[in-house]
């Protein structure tokens, strides 16, 4: 399995077709891979395991998500709050202080 992911990473060209997001709107695809990357990193760090498989999610979200969204930290919100965080960034600060369910 780890060998498969390394081979997949070596032969990575671009984000492949994801059947969870078959339609024109790819916003959730970007958000999901961003979330999966951070969850994966957190989980691997907690277990003390190799975080290389997490690179797949990193490559996919880098391919799909606009750089400005990533740099502005717009994606670090629940999906329903994405538009809010894009257009009202000061609200993001308030949202960050609200206790959330931990990323398990």
């Amino acid at each position: 399995m780890a060998e498969d992911i390394r081979t997949k990473l070596e032969h990575y060209k671009t984000a492949p077709f994801d059947s969870r997001f078959p339609n024109q709107n790819q916003t959730r695809n970007c958000w999901q891979n961003y979330l999966d990357f951070h969850r994966c990193e957190k989980a691997m760090a907690a277990k003390g395991a190799d975080a290389t498989p997490c690179q797949w999610y990193y490559r996919v979200y880098k391919s799909i998500c606009p750089t400005s969204w990533v740099l502005r930290g717009v994606l670090q919100v629940p999906f329903g709050s994405l538009l809010l965080s894009l257009w009202c960034p000061h609200v993001l600060e308030v949202l960050r202080d609200v206790p959330k369910v931990s990323l398990r």
Binding site: F17, K62, S63, P66, L83, W87
Partner: protein, 227 residues
């Protein structure tokens, strides 16, 4: 690009656009046939050559129900074929992001390195001789030819739309949403498009230029850009 007073489509440079042009020709022929028939019947009627004493019209009713149904099927079948063809899953070789701003586009190639640049229209005062007014840009999008390209389109402020007629692509750029479209260029060349959603004072002055080249030239260009 379109020539002066051009009425028809630009030469198709992607397989989908080729299909669309053929379908348009077919649909236009159907429309021409119907219009000719209607004009003919109208003329006959005006010359009072279409009178009848019959009150029983079963046969003619049948004909002018079945015939239109056949015409509709003749239109629907190729139309749906192309619609499904557009949705075919073709694993892309490259993902390009196009972000609309007032009034320029930003393009990002982030599959490997973080390549990003802005694309502004070349003002007419700075246009070299022989170049196309209101269509040229300072930095073109370069893509490898004959490769499936995925484009993710969004906007940073207001609605825009990313359109390249020769490739049969037009997709709205909506703030907060990532819209996906894809195309394959059948040949190398330079393809022009313009913003297709009203976005303010300079909506007509933020064109799109796609340059399709063989892979090795694309690789050379992207190495140059990343250095």
């Amino acid at each position: 690009m379109a020539n002066h007073s051009q009425l028809g489509f630009q030469d198709a440079s992607s397989p989908i656009m080729e299909e669309l042009v053929e379908f348009h020709d077919h649909a236009l022929m159907v429309a021409l046939a119907i219009c000719s028939l209607v004009l003919y019947l109208l003329t006959l009627m005006l010359m009072e050559k279409l009178s009848s004493n019959t009150v029983d019209a079963q046969e003619v009713e049948l004909i002018w129900t079945i015939l239109p149904a056949i015409v509709l099927v003749l239109l629907a079948l190729p139309s749906l074929q192309i619609l499904y063809m557009m949705d075919e899953i073709d694993e892309p070789d490259l993902t390009l992001k196009a972000i609309g701003h007032q009034w320029y586009w930003t393009y990002e190639y982030t599959d490997f390195k973080d390549l990003s640049f802005d694309s502004y229209m070349t003002p007419t005062t700075d246009l070299p001789l022989g170049h196309f007014r209101l269509l040229e840009v300072d930095h073109r999008i370069v893509i490898p030819m004959e490769s499936p390209i995925r484009v993710i389109i969004t906007a940073d402020d207001v609605l825009h739309s990313w359109a390249v007629p020769a490739l049969g692509v037009k997709t709205d750029a909506i703030p907060g949403r990532l819209n996906q479209t894809s195309f394959i260029t059948t040949r190398p060349g330079v393809f022009y498009g313009q913003c297709s959603e009203i976005c303010g004072a300079n909506h007509s002055y933020m064109p799109i230029v796609v340059e399709s080249t063989p892979l090795k030239h694309f690789e050379a260009w992207s190495s140059l850009l990343s250095s």
